[in-house]
């Protein structure tokens, strides 16, 4: 046989060996055969097979998993390893009236709340234990509070600094006494932090022990391994006193590129993805994907046009109102999310899930109305110059519009808003920045006129007090840590926001919240835009109660999932 024929045979054999490898079993990489099945936890009657290894594509890798530390704060980290391993006092669940708090499996029912001073008594379940078998106790509550209020580089102490003491004399009863009322108490000892195990961490360097993964758990899962840059593997916590997971393991593989994520999902290398609502994601879904999908605007996310109320030209209420009437916000949302049938703009400065203490239609009157724009601007002393741009006192309505660079969805939003505003007589120039600069310097320092970014609610408490209390304008008094970046300072607003933040009377809070929303809308402090939808995609191989939770993420009830029999 000639040399060239040998080469052809060799090439053919190489190809056949590759195909044979694909057809054959890959030891250890596939799912185990199972015969045991149980009914799905949601009572749907669907059989959920026990066993098997699930692989999920994770878009981000957390920086660290010491949840109370400043290096934490990654949503993905919380969804993957926080919700699944850290015990919490309350769950956020969906009710007939919307989303609400419900005592978690950690507690024996609703905690007792008393006033003067505000005192919350948590009755901890007798069955609640850590993964090493030690009971979860009131000392864990106390330790968590102490770490948050006295530790270094803590991510957020809001609410915990209102606590005066935690009585742990009874191991199964935590009595939390507040020095100052805090209405959002249900978000404490949970939320993005969870409760820490004092018997393991007391006297140790908490951050060093937890930052790169930890080997304890008070939830249904435990972290088996965190291979940095590659994957995180969770395995069942066999000592969990609730429903123990059916799956043998769940692996979160870090696939940070959106296109690669979709390809990995379509190829079956990952069986679930939770991508950000970017334009290419919407397009891919619109073109059709195998498997299951859920997308909803009923989330804790709100993207808005944020105006600096202390900076020209938005230091005038009339101008802000006019700007609101120069934008067709529904058209913006349709351009972004029409592919998944989300076409209506948000009408509240509170994210969609915060219905209890907010008026979700407060901004509904701000529709495109160029006649109204003219009326408001001329009434405020503006006239149009030769370029058709509003001008007053020799200053034209030139607006610098800033958002985070490299975000295609936000850049499209800017282009649409720029075009619409130009038609109404506002001249917008786009000048985007790297996220660290935008959030770390520009917004806190007030060096902007118009910004585009999202607020994300991590609890069910209204965000308006944090955002709009005049005491939260960044200043020396609050060490420039306040997040009233819009410099909103409305005298009649502050008392309402204080009530919203501190009152323990839900009816009083609701009344104050609705009244506050009306003032915010009347003063056009900023404009809500799109309810960034949560998008979840999963393969037909996953059975069980797969559903997204706007606060806890899509993996909250992962312990009820199985692989289809």
């Amino acid at each position: 046989m000639t040399k060239s024929r040998w080469l052809r045979v060799l090439a053919l054999l190489l190809g056949l060996s590759m195909i044979a490898a694909a057809c054959g079993d890959d030891e250890g990489a596939g799912e185990e055969e199972t015969t045991e099945t149980t009914e799905a936890a949601d009572g749907s009657g669907e059989e959920v097979a026990a066993g098997g290894d699930l692989v999920i594509g994770a878009e981000q890798e957390p920086d660290c998993v010491d949840w109370i530390s400043s290096c934490a704060g990654s949503s993905w980290g919380y969804w993957m390893m926080g919700v699944t391993t850290m015990p919490r006092a309350f769950d956020v669940v969906e009710t007939a009236d919307g989303w609400d708090y419900e005592p978690s499996i950690l507690l024996e029912g609703e905690p007792e709340l008393s006033e003067d001073p505000q005192t919350v008594t948590y009755q901890i379940s007798e069955d609640a234990v850590w993964s090493d078998g030690e009971p979860i106790t009131s000392t864990d509550f106390k330790y968590t509070w102490e770490q948050i209020t006295t530790g270094e580089d803590i991510y957020d102490t809001t609410g915990y600094v209102n606590i005066e003491s935690v009585d742990d004399s009874d191991p199964k009863v935590a009595v939390v006494t507040f020095s100052e009322n805090y209405a959002g108490w249900k978000g404490l000892f949970g939320g993005g932090f969870g409760i820490y195990p004092s018997h393991i961490l007391e006297g140790q360097d908490r951050n060093a022990m937890m930052a790169n993964g930890f080997d304890f758990s008070g939830g249904p899962w435990m972290i088996e391994n965190w291979d940095k840059g590659v994957e995180v593997v969770l395995v069942p916590n066999e000592n969990y006193w609730g429903e123990v997971p059916k799956l043998d393991s769940v692996t979160f593989r870090f696939v940070t590129d959106t296109a690669a994520q979709f390809q990995a999902f379509q190829a079956g290398e990952v069986e679930m993805i939770y991508p950000q609502p970017q334009l290419d994601v919407i397009e891919a879904i619109d073109q059709g994907l195998e498997g299951n999908s859920s997308f909803t605007p009923d989330t804790g996310n709100l993207e808005a046009l944020w105006m600096n109320n202390a900076e020209f030209p938005f230091d005038s209420v009339a101008v802000r109102q006019a700007f609101g009437h120069s934008i067709d916000r529904d058209a913006v949302v349709e351009a972004l999310f029409g592919g998944i049938d989300i076409t209506e703009a948000s009408q509240s400065i509170n994210p969609p899930i915060l219905t209890q203490f907010a008026d979700q239609e407060a901004f509904a009157d701000y529709t495109l109305d160029l006649a109204r724009v003219d009326e408001l601007m001329t009434g405020d002393g503006w006239t149009k110059n030769g370029d058709g741009i509003w001008e007053k006192g020799g200053q034209a309505a030139n607006i610098e519009f800033i958002t985070t660079a490299g975000n295609a969805r936000r850049e499209l939003t800017q282009q649409i808003v720029q075009e619409q505003a130009r038609e109404a007589g506002f001249n917008i120039t786009i000048n985007n920045q790297e996220a660290g600069t935008f959030f770390g310097e520009t917004l806190p320092n007030g060096d902007y006129q118009l910004g585009l970014y999202a607020q994300v609610a991590t609890t069910l408490d209204p965000i308006t007090p944090n955002l709009f209390l005049s005491s939260n304008i960044p200043s020396e008094e609050n060490s420039f840590a306040g997040i009233n970046w819009q410099r909103v300072n409305i005298p009649e607003l502050d008392p309402l926001l204080q009530t919203l933040q501190n009152s323990l009377d839900d009816a009083e809070r609701r009344e104050a919240g609705v009244a506050a929303d009306a003032i915010l809308a009347e003063n056009a402090v900023s404009f809500p835009l799109d309810p960034l939808p949560n998008i979840l995609l999963w393969s037909d191989n996953i059975s069980g109660d797969v559903a997204d939770n706007p606060v806890h993420g899509p993996f909250m009830n992962m312990h009820t999932w199985g692989l289809a029999s």
């Binding site: 490898a21 890959d26 580089d153 991510y155 840059g229 593989r253 390809q263 770390g440």
Partner: protein, 322 residues
Amino acid sequence: MLAYVLRRILISIPVVLIASFVLFVFVRETFDPTARLRNVRDPAAIEREIERLGLDDPVHIQYGKWLGEFVQGDWGESARTREDVTDMTQRALWNTVQLIFWGILVSATIAISIGVYSAVKQYSVPDYLFTGLSYLAIAMPPFWFGLIAINVFVFKTQDWFGLDEAPLYFVGLHSPRQSGYDMDYLRHLVLPVMTLSVQIVGSWSRFQRAAMLDVMSADYIRTARAKGVPRRKVIFKHGLRNALIPLVTVMAIDIGLLFGGLIITETIFSVPGMGRMFIVALLQGDVAVLEAWMVVVAVFVISFNLLADVLYGILDPRIRVA
């Protein structure tokens, strides 16, 4: 030979020092190491960080302190993850080294083969074909090729041959919870190595062809043929060895640059290597990681240039200067 090598090494040391100083100043002037702490509700956090990093000192003092710790293996702590930068860099470097090793092995084998064949069979149909493909490969963006390769070799192949699963994988270097160097590893390696190699093969094969043509037209080659030396021996022992000299220089420089330049390949194929580490550190302003990354890459570039000089001397005795 030894004197030559030692002389080259001694010359490299001040180059590394100068490069590290320039990069250090560049990074410190561009990024604020305390930026991530601005939103932390601990007002003393920034002051502590300034003190810890010695940011109030003049830059040359900061450099001296940093250099002293660096050479002792203390590369600092990531501002983002609080992880030891040495560990992070070692982990990322190992992943990148694997891609580079296999990529260079495949690229060199294919490029040299094509270059030699094209030169020996100059103006033949295969020569024209290889020329066209080479230019296409050079012009093709790696990210585009990578995504196309995934589409063809994962999805289309599975459809065409009716396979139960795709023959190749493209997420990471191993399947979940797998390790080792087995068929699973190989199936993960093919696509990223292919993506990495396509442009390199296009460029090196052109270079090799030109070098071979130059050598094959030399008098000593004609003399060897006239003396009856077998054709194969003339091509490989006399021709190729001399034609490799310029290619070795190009290869060494390209390999050195690859240690920091696999950003696209690593992102598409989710390989946590040096490229991804750099991008994340750059976007987050993680100063310690950026400093370590730049110095490591600079050392590799300089080292591989040194290697090129040494190999040059080995391949061509005329270059070994006493």
